[in-house]
């Protein structure tokens, strides 16, 4: 085969000097406390909040959108918005644009190599990826704690741990935090960390936007947590008007939180999409990019195109609360249907934002642990693109019983059923890759196989929900709850943990403990199924969602589910113990390529240097040539040699001498 691509002339900046960053002339970055870091971000947030709250009270003194409540939504909104702005100012995310606006010369920042760079606004995509790991785990465990509260309340149908207001606040907070987390759970940590390495680039297209997306993600977390200080919000994560209009201060946290996180989502999606399109190494054609990159590309299309609807809907809600508009208030000429449709027009692509990266991770893991190429790579990519495209056409299946025009129902039933065809491609590719393989049941592989098991249940129950007559029975009940937990948690979160176990040795340079990983997997898998499978039955037997009282005869099922949920929660502690032990307390250095993978990201030393590759590789084929006689070379790594898969089951080898381009 011939090398058709030309070598790239030297890269953006000579190695090893770090890239030019924005340095505000008057506030030089320097090591230590007197620079911008998490602490200054917190200070900025507090000062911003106080200023915004005060401004809100000045602008709309005495305004309460609910009579006699004493809650000034303008002040709360002002506080939250300026708090977010202050947080970003404090961390230094706005230094560069502000310097440019004012006409000041920007200069390179102090480039930290200490651990404190994880607490700063750092534009190295690998640092951002690891920051996201901690960020999404914080979201996950907060939401998980709230879930434990929900399951505790549901232990008894008649005696109550929480008052109804507290309970509904917990339910709403759990849902919203988990959805915000799940949106970025793979794109954030693994997308940012892996994509440039997988495509043979040194950085993403917009490193400042990438770092900004992380810090606004954390700001969104704090905003949504602030709801608890305002007494929570009563609408669930779906935020239906007019209950939304009726709600108090906590509602502003929800609306502002979504707007803020939405901006972060759009930024991250935009950045990764441009990176994938423009920054691929020479020779990396569209049929050679790793399948994970395809899944991220499809996800980024959804992130960039669907999220603006959410942000707009959030703004309308904020205006309804503060400026006395009536977008969602039927009595004054608006419509509660407007919120429902805007929300779900975003909401449905949102859940595919969550599903697609999970598939991508699983497809990266499968070939490595079956030592076989990915079956039907093009079908896999087509499946992901097909799902992304179709996901815009199905949103009204959430609204079948809402009083929408009945003509719409068969149409959306059709589109929803059709979307299961590209989803089925995922199974074709997965099962085909397993055929006559040599399966090694390492911890990442266990999680990948679990996705296939769980998502099958989740996906097929989705077909049940899409059938309009059956939807009459199951809409709004625990059946829906079980369905989306099976797809989002059973699919995405399992894939996330599989990806973590797989890539953490490269990301941190430390090996995760295998025994603890296996214990974590089995407890999580078994008790996840024991928690959520009974919920299908609970829903069929008539228990609606988000209730704190239910029929007496359902107590046994609910208790079974709750106890399993507690054990499921405990399994995450095993992961935390493993994480802390293996990375901080008793670390074992990991080899550069412990799983013998052909991926480009594994062909770097551990820890990965700042500039990723000494020399940008020239890609010669896709990275799935396992167990192939006379396999083509995967990539020319320059002085390090040529990456070649050396036959069946042997470790990927790198030849000593660079091979001349052969035909």
């Amino acid at each position: 085969m011939t090398v058709t691509a030309e070598r790239e002339t030297e890269v953006v900046y000579p190695h090893p000097t770090p890239p030019v960053l924005g340095g505000f002339q008057g506030l030089p970055q320097r090591p230590g406390w007197l620079s911008q870091h998490l602490g200054t971000a917190a200070i900025g947030a507090v000062l911003g909040y106080l200023l915004g709250h005060w401004l809100g009270n000045v602008v709309a003194s005495g305004y309460t959108n609910i009579a006699d409540s004493g809650v000034n939504a303008v002040a709360i909104t002002g506080g939250l918005l300026l708090g977010v702005f202050g947080w970003l100012l404090g961390i230094g995310a706005l230094n560069y644009p502000l310097a440019k606006m004012v006409g000041l010369e920007t200069r390179p920042d102090y480039e930290s190599t200490s651990w404190t760079r994880y607490l700063r606004y750092t534009v190295d995509h690998k640092v951002v990826g690891l920051q996201y790991v901690i960020g999404v785990l914080a979201f996950l465990f907060t939401g998980g704690l709230l879930a434990m509260g929900i399951r505790t309340e549901l232990l008894s149908p008649s005696s109550h741990l929480f008052g109804p207001g507290t309970y509904i606040a917990i339910v709403s907070e759990h849902g919203t935090i988990m959805m915000m987390m799940a949106t970025s759970v793979i794109v954030g940590p693994l997308g940012n960390w892996l994509v440039p390495l997988m495509i043979g680039a040194r950085r993403t297209a917009f490193p400042r936007v990438e770092a900004f997306s992380f810090w606004i993600f954390t700001a969104g977390y704090l905003v949504i947590l602030s709801a608890l200080f305002y007494g929570g919000f009563p609408t669930g994560w779906t935020g239906y008007a007019p209950l939304q209009t009726q709600a108090g201060g906590g509602m502003m946290s929800y609306l502002v939180g979504f707007a803020v996180i939405g901006i972060g989502m759009m930024a991250a999606g935009f950045n990764l999409a441009v990176t994938i399109i423009n920054y691929r190494a020479p020779g990396m054609t569209w049929s050679r990019i790793p399948i994970f990159v395809w899944s991220i590309l499809a996800t980024c299309a959804l992130l960039t195109l669907a999220t603006p609807t959410l942000v707009a809907a959030g703004f309308f809600g904020i205006l309804d609360h503060t400026a006395q508009t009536a977008f969602f208030v039927t009595e004054h000429g608006g419509s509660s249907f407007l919120w429902e449709n805007l929300f779900w027009f975003f909401g449905h692509p949102e859940v595919y934002i969550m599903a697609l990266p999970g598939f991508g991770i699983v497809f990266e893991i499968l070939p490595v642990f079956t030592r076989k190429p990915l079956f039907a790579y093009k079908v896999a990519a087509a499946g992901m693109v097909g799902v992304a495209l179709l996901s815009f056409f199905v949103w009204q299946h959430h609204l079948f019983q809402s009083g929408i025009n009945p003509d719409m129902r068969p149409l959306f039933m059709l589109t929803t059923e059709l979307i299961s065809i590209p989803t089925g491609f995922i199974y074709l590719v997965g099962l085909g890759t397993l055929y006559k393989a040599k399966i090694k049941f390492e911890v990442p592989m266990l999680f990948a196989l679990a996705l296939f098991f769980n998502f099958l249940i989740g996906g097929i129950t989705g077909v049940f929900l899409s059938d309009v007559p059956v939807n009459v029975t199951v809409h709004g009940s625990f059946f829906v709850l079980a369905h989306f937990h099976y797809t989002i948690m059973g699919g995405l979160i399992f894939a996330f943990f599989g990806g973590l176990y797989y890539w953490l040795p490269k990301m941190t340079g430390k090996t995760m403990n295998k025994k603890l990983g296996q214990i974590h997997f089995w407890i999580m898998f078994i008790f996840f199924n024991l928690t959520f499978f009974p919920m299908f039955l609970i829903g069929l037997l008539g228990q609606p969602r988000r209730v704190f009282e239910y029929a007496q005869n359902l107590q046994a099922l609910n208790d079974f589910s709750s106890v399993s949920a507690f054990i499921l929660g405990a399994s995450f502690l095993v992961f935390v113990a493993n994480f802390v032990w293996s990375i901080f307390i008793k670390p074992t250095p990991a080899p550069a390529n412990p799983w013998d993978s052909l991926g480009l990201e594994w062909q770097t030393p551990t820890p990965v240097p700042y500039y990723n590759f000494e020399r940008i590789p020239v890609v010669l084929s896709d990275p799935y040539h396992y167990s192939e006689e006379n396999a083509p070379a995967v990539a020319d790594l320059g002085e390090e040699g040529v990456l070649v898969a050396a036959g069946a089951s042997s470790p990927a080898s790198v030849a000593e001498e660079p091979r001349p381009a052969a035909e």
Partner: protein
């Protein structure tokens, strides 16, 4: 690659089978094996489910809508079960037969044959498309021919029942209770949903404040209650029994406690109950709008206040009520 036969003789059948697998030229036909296992399991479990579990599947058979939705669920499960089994059988088979730890495991074969198989890909796509389109056709036929299958159709329903007499019941949701109003019986309001047997009922669901969800479980009726909107759902009662009504759309603080009960009784018992429940004289009706009646009143009722019922779709220019005719349905206040 060869295997030590002496070694395998000392072990069980599985080892022998694996020995056979390992010998060149004696590759077992994995796909046929899996298909066989799958066929047997499906042939046993599908009818077992349909016959034993099917008649007890929610929501039961109290109304025509319930019976139809139970049937739809059963058909879907009968179609889904083989799909579940196919993937599970494959996953289990591959985990056992193709695990790396088995003795003498052959090396997997990569290359072009492992990367693509056009026949399989095309076959898969065609099969899944046929199944999906079949399910879509089934669902559409069911929802159209069964008067909307108990789902709320909005203010202008297009799939209406064919029976000549329809009893309208207005469901008024508020935070946090359901009230039922019987316009053909003088418009009295009650919190007991009592319904006559063997009658087609039109539920007109609306809300006084936020969005609620009217879910009459045994009747298989589910319709969102939107403020200032009418949402119409149909069912024909077929059996007597008790009914649980729950709110299935989060509506605030006491959403979890928003439920009440009702029952389906004989026609005579219903008329007797309805006539004996007085409209409190202290109630003042709000301004009403009357529309020309579309169907004959139910025997024994007094047609005082009517809720307009949309006409069935016809081939001519469709006559539908405007939304505003349904918007402000007469409701008694201060009761």
């Amino acid at each position: 690659m060869t295997i030590d036969n002496a070694e395998s003789e000392g072990q069980g059948v599985a080892a022998e089978a694996e020995a056979v697998i390992a010998q060149p030229g004696k590759e077992p036909r994995h796909i046929w094996r899996m298909v066989a296992i799958w066929l047997v399991l499906s042939a046993v479990l599908d009818p077992l489910f349909y016959i034993l579990v099917g008649p007890h599947v929610p929501p039961g058979t109290m109304t025509s809508a319930a019976k139809d939705n139970q049937f739809d669920f059963n058909i879907l499960l009968v179609a889904a079960l083989p799909v579940f089994l196919a993937v599970w059988v494959y996953l289990a088979y591959s985990a056992v037969m193709w695990r790396a730890s088995r003795k003498g495991a052959p090396e997997p074969v990569g290359g072009a044959q492992a990367r693509t198989h056009l026949g399989l890909q095309v076959g898969w796509i065609v099969t899944t498309t046929v199944i999906v389109l079949g399910l879509f056709a089934f669902g559409t036929v069911e929802v159209i021919t069964k008067a909307g299958s108990g789902g709320g159709e909005g203010p202008n329903p297009i799939w209406t029942p064919t029976s000549a007499t329809i009893l309208p019941v207005q469901v008024i949701a508020q935070q946090w209770k359901f009230t039922y109003r019987y316009p053909t019986f003088g418009g009295f309001e009650t919190q007991d949903l009592v319904l006559p047997n063997n009658t087609t009922i039109a539920f007109h669901v609306t809300s006084l404040d936020v969005i609620h969800g009217f879910w009459a479980y045994q009747l298989s009726i589910k319709a969102d209650a939107n403020p200032q909107q009418d949402d119409v759902a149909y069912a024909t009662t077929r059996q007597t029994g008790s009914v649980t009504v729950r709110c299935e759309e989060l509506c605030g603080l006491w959403h979890g406690a928003m439920f009440n009960y009702g029952k389906v009784v004989s026609k005579a018992a219903f008329v007797a109950w309805a006539k004996s429940t007085p409209t409190p004289s202290s109630c003042r009706p709000l301004p009403t709008r009357t529309c020309p009646t579309q169907t004959a009143p139910m025997a024994g009722t007094t047609p005082t206040t009517w809720i307009p019922i949309a006409t069935q779709r016809s081939t001519g220019p469709s006559r539908r009520h405007r939304d505003t005719d349904h918007l402000w349905i007469p409701v008694h206040q201060s009761c």
